[in-house]
Symmetry: C2
Subunit: 79 residues, 2 copies
């Protein structure tokens, strides 16, 4: 089973990297770019057939290692 | 319109960060983790109503700034 995890900064947290990308895109002539948020995308290959068990494990991994719950939020798909 | 861009290393490129995450997860007791790939996830808010025009722009942004075509590949959704 494969988990696709998307980790982003919470909406209320300032994203300086995203700001820099917005400015860079505008400088390159992409004037229609209003805002950019930069996050992480993690794919995990799991040796687990049971979807519920996999879901529980991925939540634990995100809480313990992959995301910083203070400033980030995550979501994931399993397939 | 919002573009959600997923940038990952090509399959053939070694991913040391992913390897490190796999090892860390295994050390934490997640023994069923076989492999991990770490990439970037970028959300861009565009002032563009036309889907085709937006698609073209996002391709250009990825090629010119957001991804490194030598070692990375990207895909995106628009909504």
């Amino acid at each position: 089973m494969k988990a696709k995890i998307y980790i982003t900064l919470k909406r209320t947290v300032l994203d300086p990297q995203g700001k820099a990308v917005t400015n860079a895109l505008n400088s390159l002539g992409f004037n229609k770019v209003l805002d950019t948020r930069v996050g992480r995308y993690i794919e995990i290959e799991l040796k687990e057939k049971n979807k519920q068990a996999a879901e529980k494990k991925v939540h634990q991994m995100c809480d313990q290692l992959l995301s910083n719950p203070v400033i980030e939020e995550y979501r994931f798909d399993l397939d």
